[in-house]
Amino acid sequence: MSEQKVIMGNHALSYGAVTSRVQVVAAYPITPQTQVVELLSEMCADGTLDAEFIKVESEHSAMAASIGASAAGARAFTATSSQGLALMHEMLHWAVGARLPIVMGNINRSMAPPWTIWSEQTDSLSQRDTGWLQIYASSNQEVYDSVLIAYKVAENKKVSLPVMIVLDAFFLSHTSENVNLIDQKDADRYLKPYNPEFKLDIKNPHTFGGLTTADWYMELRYKIQKAMEDSIDVIKEAHKEFKDLFGREYGLVETYKCEDADTILVAIATAASTAKEVIDELRKEGKKVGLLRIRFFRPFPFDDVKKNLKNSKKVIVLDRNLSPGNGGIVYQEVKSALYNEPVKPKVYGYIAGLGGRDITVDTIKKLFEDAQKSEPAEVKWMEVKI
């Protein structure tokens, strides 16, 4: 019923798109994303995937083409990374305002200059204000599964928003792992063909996106925020149905030994995976530590974050990103989320692993050590050579 392969994260994305029966793919190559595009163009060429592949001349156009295709009622997919994502920026806002359920893979890579191709989440996290749902994956299986889940959520009429699936450069994108592929028939039961309420339809012509004055623009934005809020339940349902059909369980967040923990590490993406090793080790030493992995960074999972952190004494946030002039982005948002709670843990933030610097078991141990003996500060650096 399901086939196991050993595939890199990039191919997990491609297979996810195939299993989701995407109809239009428009993408542009960039290290470390290229294999996504290469595999899809092969599969379009040999007929494995019945989709139109538009070999665009830039990422900006990749997103614009996806937007056009989606507006016409087709299921659209693309993938990119860092500079490409940044180049799309205007169109990221566009996809949201147009309420189009595009799914995109983004391979996290640090921003130039200087040139770099290595992992860091500033590229996608600095898109946090565009209105895309964001999923940060921590295994290739999750990458693959998330593509189906993403379409399921995005295309729900209550949501109608695009979703970005984010994976760490190299640590996932280029790392081959065991991945169970879902049989197409089962997948089709989970994910129905895209059938939007409104689209560019010659039989029912409408104009989309016309000049909107102060009279109603704000209400349209309100609807976007509302859709984000409603998406929480839609995501939960999509996860539940996924588990029922395929057995694998996901949440807006993932918790690991949090229940009785007095110190909880908050992290996203692969660092959160490596952190489990640390939690296990520290638990063996008798320390009450736990892990909260934020899987959906947008919509920000306020309830899950509050619920899981409020009984702890210390929260340690690991940021593989930097918002210069403020600090770590996850740190900022976690503090903001907890602010109005009656009792609040101390929250420590650390910046680590920028530009592909490895986040090892050791790195994470040091966070726990430092938080044990110090006070929180706006910006703390871990393993920077100063």
């Binding site: 409408h206 104009t207 609807k223």
Partner: protein, 99 residues
């Protein structure tokens, strides 16, 4: 609740809106006749029904009357004067609007 008053669409609240800024009516709500400071007047006697004024009007404001002659739709005509300028027999005159 969405109301229609003439060609105008009146929303009351966010829920009335489509999910995105989708059109639900036509620009005919906008009676651009108010833009005019000169108005074209057809001399039906002169008009030879050649359709040239119709062909060149950017505002779809020339209609055919019962005799097949040109008739101005003053609700929308902006008073650009193209019809008058292009009429081969000078059957259209531009006259100042009432001040």
């Amino acid at each position: 609740m969405i109301k229609k008053i003439g060609k105008k669409i009146i929303f009351e609240k966010a829920d009335d809106l489509p999910p995105n800024a989708m059109s639900l009516g036509t620009t005919e709500f906008n009676e651009t006749g108010s833009w005019r400071n000169e108005r074209p007047v057809v001399d039906k006697d002169k008009c030879i029904a050649c359709g040239i004024c119709w062909k060149f009007c950017p505002d779809m404001s020339i209609k055919e009357d019962a005799q097949g002659k040109a008739e101005i739709d003053y609700v929308f005509c902006k008073g650009c004067g193209i019809c008058a300028a292009e009429c081969p027999v000078k059957a259209i005159k531009m006259i100042e609007e009432e001040k």
